[in-house]
C-alpha cells in the first residue's frame, strides 16, 4: 500500500479525510502511483496531471522521502520508504495566489 498525502482541496474532492492509500503493483514508479491514485479516485483525474499529456500541472509539486520528484519522468522508481509505506508520497500545491 502506497500512502499519498494530498492538499486539502483534493482530499475534499476525493471524499477522503486523511491520506490516500493505493495498491501499486511492482515496479512502483512515480507514474504508476499517480495512475493508481486516479484509478482509485477518478475525480482526481486532470487535477494533478493534465488529461492527455499527463504533464504535471504547473502549480503542483511532488516530494518523496526528501527528494523533489516534480520533474522526474513517470518511470522513476519511488524511494524504498515510500514503497514500504513508511512515508507518504507528498503531492503539494505551490505557494501562489491568495
Amino acid at each position: 500500500m502506497i500512502r499519498i498525502q494530498l492538499p486539502q482541496q483534493l482530499r475534499s474532492l476525493a471524499g477522503i479525510a486523511g491520506e490516500a492509500g493505493v495498491e501499486v503493483p511492482p515496479p512502483v514508479t512515480l507514474g504508476a502511483a499517480l495512475d493508481a491514485l486516479e484509478a482509485t479516485y477518478p475525480t482526481l483525474s486532470g487535477t494533478i496531471r493534465d488529461h492527455g499529456t499527463t504533464r504535471r500541472r504547473s502549480f503542483i509539486r511532488i516530494f518523496a522521502d526528501g527528494e523533489d520528484l516534480s520533474d522526474a519522468p513517470p518511470h522513476t522508481p519511488l524511494p524504498r520508504a515510500i514503497v514500504e509505506g513508511r512515508q507518504p508520497l507528498r503531492v503539494v500545491g505551490a505557494i501562489a495566489g491568495g
Binding site: P7, G52, A96, G97
Partner: protein, 371 residues
C-alpha cells in the same frame, strides 16, 4: 418550493440564495466548493433541480459539478475538455503565436428541453457539448476551425467564450460571443460558423470595423423575439434586429457605454438593463455611484435606477455574467459585484436591496424561477 433560486459563482466558492415569491426573506446556502473559483452555475429549465457548476483554480484545473436535487448534493462529473485534433495556435496579447490550451469553462448553457445536454464555453475559446449530463464533453470544432481563429487574441480576462445563445424555436441556430474575437453565428447546430459583427466599431483594432476581433462582453435577448439581440461591448451598447447580421448603437444617454453585463426584462422584450462602468482603465461605476440603467424603449433612452444601491464611494465592478432576471411578476433583477454584494430588485429595478453584502468577488449570477 415556489419562488426563486439565485445561483452565485464567486472567486472563492459558490452560494445558493433562495426566497419565496415575495423575494424579501432570503436563505443563504454555501460556500460550496470553498476556495475554488466558480465562474458559472446554471440550472436546466427542463429539470430545475439539475444544476451544473464550473469549479476551477490555477492549481488543480477544471472540475465540473452536477447536482440532481437543486444544489443540496453535488457530484463531480467529467472534466476533460480536449480540443479536436491538432489545436494549432491563436495570437497572444503581444501578437505572438500561442498554442491553444484549455484553462477553464466560463459558461454553461443547458438545453431548453434535455437536462443532460449542455453547451460549455471555455478558455481558450472553444465550444463544447455534453449529451450525457456532463460525463463526457466533445468540441464543436467548426468554430475554432473558422479561418479567422488563428488571429483571435484574448481580452484582459483571457480568450474566453462567455456567451452561448441557442435559438428557442430552432436549436440549430446559435450565437456565441468571444472576447476578443466577437460574435459568431451558426445555423447548422454548430458545424459551421459565420462572424456576426457587422456594424461594430472597435478603436483598439487597426481596422476598427473588421469582421473579427471585437471585444464583445455579453449578449442578451428575450426568448419571444430571438432575432433581436442586445450587446454590451468593450465600449458601446449595441442592438441587432436581424439575428446578429447587422448591429447599431443604442448607447444613447448612458453616462458611460463601457460595461460588462446586459440583460432583458422577462416580460418586456424592449426593456433592457446595463450597468455602466467608467472606462476600460477604471473598472468601477462612474462617480462612485452604482447605477443600473434601464431602457424601456429598446435602447438609446436610459433611466438610472439608484434606490437602494450605493450612491457614494462605490468602486466595485459588475462582471459580464453577474446580472440576471427572474420571470416572476413583477420581474426581478439581480446584480452581483466584485465587492461581494448581490443586489436584488423585486420590482423590475425600481427598488434594490442587498441579499448578501460580504461574499467573495462575484463572478456570475443566474436565477431560476421555481413554480
Amino acid at each position: 418550493m415556489t419562488g426563486v433560486r439565485v445561483l452565485v459563482g464567486t472567486r472563492k466558492g459558490a452560494f445558493i440564495l433562495t426566497a419565496d415569491g415575495h423575494r424579501e426573506a432570503w436563505q443563504v446556502h454555501g460556500p460550496l466548493f470553498g476556495g475554488w473559483e466558480v465562474y458559472h452555475l446554471a440550472g436546466s429549465s427542463a429539470d430545475p433541480d439539475r444544476l451544473y457548476a464550473s469549479q476551477s483554480n490555477g492549481w488543480f484545473g477544471q472540475i465540473v459539478q452536477r447536482s440532481d436535487d437543486g444544489g443540496a448534493r453535488w457530484e463531480a462529473v467529467g472534466n476533460e475538455f480536449a480540443y479536436t485534433g491538432d489545436p494549432g495556435t491563436h495570437l497572444f496579447y503581444d501578437g505572438s503565436e500561442q498554442p491553444w490550451r484549455f484553462t477553464r469553462a466560463w459558461h454553461f448553457a443547458p438545453s431548453l428541453d434535455d437536462p443532460d445536454v449542455v453547451h460549455a464555453g471555455v478558455e481558450d475559446a472553444a465550444l463544447f457539448r455534453t449529451d450525457d449530463g456532463g460525463h463526457t464533453w466533445s468540441e464543436l470544432a467548426g468554430l475554432r476551425g473558422h479561418p479567422s481563429a488563428t488571429s483571435w487574441q484574448p481580452g484582459a480576462g483571457g480568450l474566453c467564450l462567455h456567451t452561448i445563445l441557442v435559438h428557442p424555436d430552432d436549436p440549430a441556430t446559435m450565437h456565441v460571443a468571444i472576447s476578443a474575437a466577437g460574435v459568431f453565428r451558426s445555423e447548422d447546430a454548430g458545424e459551421s460558423w459565420t462572424p456576426a459583427n457587422n456594424g461594430l466599431h472597435s478603436g483598439f483594432m487597426p481596422e476598427p470595423e473588421a469582421d473579427v476581433g471585437h471585444c464583445v462582453h455579453k449578449l442578451a435577448r428575450h426568448p419571444s423575439r430571438p432575432d433581436v439581440l442586445f450587446m454590451q461591448k468593450h465600449w458601446d451598447v449595441m442592438r441587432s434586429d436581424d439575428g446578429g447580421r447587422n448591429w447599431y448603437e443604442i448607447s444613447g444617454d448612458l453616462p458611460s457605454d463601457f460595461g460588462f453585463a446586459i440583460d432583458v426584462h422577462a416580460h418586456e422584450p424592449d426593456t433592457v438593463y446595463v450597468t455602466p462602468i467608467t472606462s476600460d482603465e477604471e473598472h468601477y461605476p462612474p462617480d462612485g455611484r452604482l447605477r443600473v440603467y434601464r431602457s424601456r424603449t429598446g435602447g438609446n433612452e436610459w433611466q438610472p435606477l439608484t434606490a437602494g444601491l450605493p450612491q457614494e464611494h462605490c468602486y466595485v465592478n459588475v462582471l459580464r455574467d453577474a446580472m440576471a432576471v427572474d420571470s416572476m411578476d413583477p420581474c426581478g433583477v439581480y446584480v452581483g459585484t466584485t465587492g461581494g454584494q448581490v443586489y436584488a430588485s423585486a420590482d423590475a429595478g425600481d427598488h434594490w436591496s442587498p441579499i448578501v453584502r460580504d461574499l467573495p468577488a462575484v463572478l456570475s449570477v443566474e436565477v431560476q424561477t421555481l413554480t
